[in-house]
């Protein structure tokens, strides 16, 4: 009788994602360190990430407004069981912080990584700022993570 074997296997699942015109413009802005939200003419809600239609009024969104790369934590967690990073396709090293960030000038939240992973130093309402990577490519991971403002 031999020992029960576990065969480690790695496979790649490839994907293609067609961005909307709004997301394409948003990503083009990232390449120039520019964050923009789409503002609804009806209710004034500013969407970031952008979406083509207002969820409240069902009006098409066309009005781009500037958003700062600083904001406040609307929610946060520290992840200990990592998932695949959708951009790299690889497992992110745990533990790491994740937050829903309401950027100054936006009414919705952006889901992103946090530089801070100590729960004792995280709190709702905490000010955070985007840390941009050196070589911008026009993708959401042009922002590496958000750091806590002290």
């Amino acid at each position: 009788m031999s020992e029960p074997l576990l065969v480690p296997i790695e496979m790649d699942q490839s994907w293609r994602y067609a961005a909307t015109a709004a997301m394409a413009r948003f990503c083009a802005g990232l390449k120039e360190r520019r964050l923009e939200a789409l503002r609804c003419d009806g209710c004034g809600k500013r969407y970031l990430p952008p979406r083509p239609v207002c969820g409240n009024c069902h009006l098409a969104l066309r009005d781009w407004v500037a958003v700062r790369d600083e904001g406040r934590l609307a929610a946060w967690t520290v992840v200990h069981v990592p998932i695949l990073d959708p951009r790299s396709g690889r497992m992110r090293e745990a533990p790491y912080g994740m937050g829903l960030i309401r950027l100054d000038g936006a009414d919705t939240t952006l889901n992103h990584y946090l530089a801070e992973q100590n729960p004792a130093r995280l709190a709702i309402g905490l000010g955070v700022r985007a840390v941009w990577r050196e070589q911008l490519v026009g993708a959401i991971d042009d922002i590496l993570h958000f750091e806590v403002l002290r």
Binding site: E3, V7, E10, M11, S14, R16, Y17, C27, L84, R90
Partner: protein, 137 residues
């Protein structure tokens, strides 16, 4: 704008009691094991815990190959050749790689398993099959 990427999916396949014996024999002894069904006399490869044809759990472990006969094959866009090989002594074919790029592939071609130098207990402990020199082995 179209984004393209791939996600890496790592997982571990539990080989089970019979599968583990089969893989351990590949890894440690470079032997290919099958199971002869005492009820219907079929030789099942890879080694099984029961006969999927007649349901019998009375099986004798036998060694098959490493020689075999090419039953069918196909070439993938990247040049990899997948083949079904009837190992000597087995009753049904094994799906594996053909290593010569399919140059000599024809139904009935005599082939032989080439074992990997580094073996970890997986089906790729057999690197693939190559045309056997000098006919039957």
């Amino acid at each position: 704008m179209i984004r393209e990427s791939a996600i890496r999916i790592p997982f571990r396949y539990a080989a089970g009691a019979a599968g583990s014996r089969f893989l351990a024999a590949l890894r440690d002894q470079q032997r290919i094991l099958g199971a002869r069904c005492a009820a219907c006399a079929r030789v099942l490869v890879p080694l099984r815990a029961f006969c999927p044809v007649c349901g019998s759990e009375t099986l004798d472990t036998v060694e098959v190959g490493p020689g075999g006969t090419l039953q069918t094959w196909t070439t993938r866009a990247d040049g990899t050749v997948f083949a079904v090989i009837l190992l000597d002594g087995a009753s049904s074919g094994l799906v594996h790689r053909l290593l010569d790029g399919g140059e000599e592939a024809c139904c009935g071609l005599r082939v032989r398993a080439r074992f990997a130098t580094e073996r970890r207990g997986g089906i790729l402990d057999i690197a693939g099959f190559e045309p056997a020199q000098g006919g039957a082995t």
